[in-house]
Subunit: 184 residues, 2 copies
Amino acid sequence: MSDEVVTFFKALADANRLKIVGLLAQQPYSVEELAALLDLKPSTVSHHLAKLAQIGLVSARTESYYNVYQLDEKALQSKSQNLFSQENLAASVVDVNANAYDQKVIADYSRKDGSLKTIPAQRKKLEAVLRYVVQAFEINKKYSEKKVNEILSRYHEDTASLRRELVGYGLMKREGGGGDYWRE
Amino acid sequence: MSDEVVTFFKALADANRLKIVGLLAQQPYSVEELAALLDLKPSTVSHHLAKLAQIGLVSARTESYYNVYQLDEKALQSKSQNLFSQENLAASVVDVNANAYDQKVIADYSRKDGSLKTIPAQRKKLEAVLRYVVQAFEINKKYSEKKVNEILSRYHEDTASLRRELVGYGLMKREGGGGDYWRE
DNA sequence: AATCTAATTTGATGAGTATCGAATTAGATT
DNA sequence: AATCTAATTCGATACTCATCAAATTAGATT
């Protein structure tokens, strides 16, 4: 689906093809005439017209010896309207892995056993790692600080920092003053 | 001027750049994040973003370590509206030689001395040659048939055919029944 | 000031494609 | 039917450009 849009832009990403569109906007022309006007060989113009026809922008009508091409202005307008519609923008993104960044960061910072080499200093990377670590806790279950530290120690010896950051970024909550922790 | 339009289409004639536009339509991203999402190296993403920035579609804002890129939706809409405006279509054509086809045909059919090798059989080529031949006559001056033939003989021995076609295509007029010829 | 990090730039490489000439095809004219 | 002619297809070539790795730059953190 996004392929269609790429093909459309590729078809128009050439100076000579744009000139052809401009010329056909004035009047229909045969391949031979276009070749003379653009100072190109007929085979080259044929190649360009095929690309424009592929996206439905031009069509040919046989007239005696000649193949006269004309611009489909309707298609031109309708295509250009929807180019950046919500559907097309969304379609271009369907096959990107939304978690790719987190995965890359986690892979960079993890050992084979799942523990962390270091705790990232950069905010975005720290967030990615914390989103990963917090999954070790069940949702809505209460944990004592001792239990939290025990779980976090699987990831890094500096359990205090991990615990503090998890709360700081809102990934875990703490009850009142010195109570239990939980993940929402 | 047409260069600008070509640059615009070229900038969007790439699947990964379209994905970048789609992603930035959702939220701003850093180069590093985009690289992870698209499974590309940061240097490649930088290259793509430079092309998108060149046409004013994205811009960067520095945020701590990161260069966060955002989509300029206003530019996106306004650009896509005017893409095939009358101005752009006309601009794409400014530097094409409108007489190139006639010139090519005339060159193909003329000898060095200006005379015609043959009279073209194809309509379009015949028209081009006739437009060339008729320039030997002054506008609004009356010529006898004998004088017409004398002038046409510089181009081809079959003056009768040339004379008939000139009148047939309306390039020369004839007075009443057997009177003089003239070019309007 | 020294060090770290993300981004950019540069150079090299491979894939894609615009262009042409030659061969072929499709169709009209004679 | 035979012959012309424009268009298309095919193969080759040159150029453009997407991509990466390495080097450099710009900027923030310590």
